[in-house]
Every structure is written in structure tokens, then in C-alpha cells.
Symmetry: C2
């Protein structure tokens, strides 16, 4: 309900990371970035919203696009930081499936997580 | 069966991280460190085995010990890098429960993970 409790419950979720070769093809940060690109329509606006550099966001997009069978993000021609970006149908599906796995993994260990946190200091 | 497939399947496991205040009280690396301390009987030997500095291993132990209601690792007096270390009963229980959560979360999304990886490049 408060920001703190929302943050805390998120921290207690299992995190999913999909490795591909030596990179992380998909993980919590990349899924958030895809959501932000879908919302803002641009890599630079998404980067700003997430408090990361344009360069870092661009590199994350590049990793995703090289890891999957088709690109997850397409950018319009139009110069640096310029032409806007869209999340492809595959990108949308990847996010949807990733979120579903997060939820399912979290639900599977909800009771154990709650019991575990009783071992932490007050 | 091969090292590669073991690594790949490990990379595809959901990762559990238990946050406490601003730190990670328990996560995959800390659980591995506890296992290594239990096996080697020393923080410095465990650090070597894991390819991390003694200082880093010590800081991870300190974070764990400060996060839980009782210490997870006790060190014998006896000077720097000196007197050996043991994982406490609580430390053993924390690792056991942590591994159980990892396994349960992994099992819960096994089919989804396998389907998801079909979207990756060959």
C-alpha cells in the first residue's frame, strides 16, 4: 500500500533472468525498459524515465535484439536519438511471458518467502 | 550432464534475493559462500574457492550476520584470516530453506522457461 511495502514485496519476488550465450537476453531491467519504450515510443525517453543513460538503454536493446530470433525493438530511421522506437509483436510477447513467469515463480514460493523473512532482524 | 548444460540450466533458474533494509540479506552468491565456508571451514579458503577477495567475502558475511536475528557465520578468535569459521545452525537452516525456494520456484516455471527459450536465436 505504501511505497515502502510495494518496494519490499517486489524485492522478495524471485527474479527471472534468461541467459543467452554470455549475455542476459531478458531480465527484470530489460523487461522494464521494453515497457518504458512501449509507453514512451522512444529509447531516449524510456532511458530518461528509468534514470539510465541513452547509451546504456541502447546497449540493452541491442543485446535483446541480438538474442532473440527477431528484434524486440525497432527504431525508425531519422538520426541520433531521433526517429522513435516501437516494441515489436515479439517484444510484446516476450514481456508478457516474462511477467507471467515472474508472477508464477513468486506465487510458488510466497509462503516460504514469508516464513523466511521471519528469520530476519526486526 | 555436461558442464555446458549444467551451466545453462542454472542460468535459467529463477534467482531468489531476499532484501533487508538496503542490502541483500541472502541471494545465490551468499548461499554459495555459506556452502563454501561450511566445506572449507574458513572464510579465506571459501573466498579463494569462489575466486573473490577475502575482503569481499568478509563483507558478504558481515551483511548476512547483520541481517538475520543471529549470526550465520562465527569466526574463531585468532587474528587476521586466522582462526577458522563455522556456519551456525541458523546459517545451515537459511541455506536449506533458500535452496528449497530456488528449487520450488524453478520447478514452477520449468515448462514456461523451456518454451521461452524457443524464442531465442539458435
Amino acid at each position: 500500500m505504501t511505497k515502502d511495502s510495494a518496494t519490499a514485496s517486489q524485492d522478495l519476488q524471485p527474479q527471472i533472468r534468461i541467459s543467452f550465450k554470455k549475455s542476459i537476453a531478458m531480465g527484470p531491467g530489460k523487461a522494464d525498459l521494453l515497457d518504458a519504450i512501449a509507453t514512451t515510443g522512444s529509447i531516449s525517453a524510456a532511458a530518461r524515465e528509468m534514470g539510465m543513460s541513452y547509451r546504456r538503454a541502447w546497449l540493452l536493446v541491442e543485446t535483446m535484439n541480438q538474442s532473440f530470433q527477431e528484434p524486440l525493438v525497432m527504431t525508425a530511421a531519422g538520426g541520433q536519438h531521433g526517429g522513435g522506437a516501437v516494441v515489436t509483436a515479439l517484444g510484446c510477447e516476450v514481456v508478457r511471458r516474462f511477467r507471467a513467469m515472474e508472477r508464477k515463480a513468486a506465487a510458488s514460493v510466497k509462503a516460504e518467502m514469508e516464513a523466511f523473512t521471519q528469520l530476519l532482524q526486526d
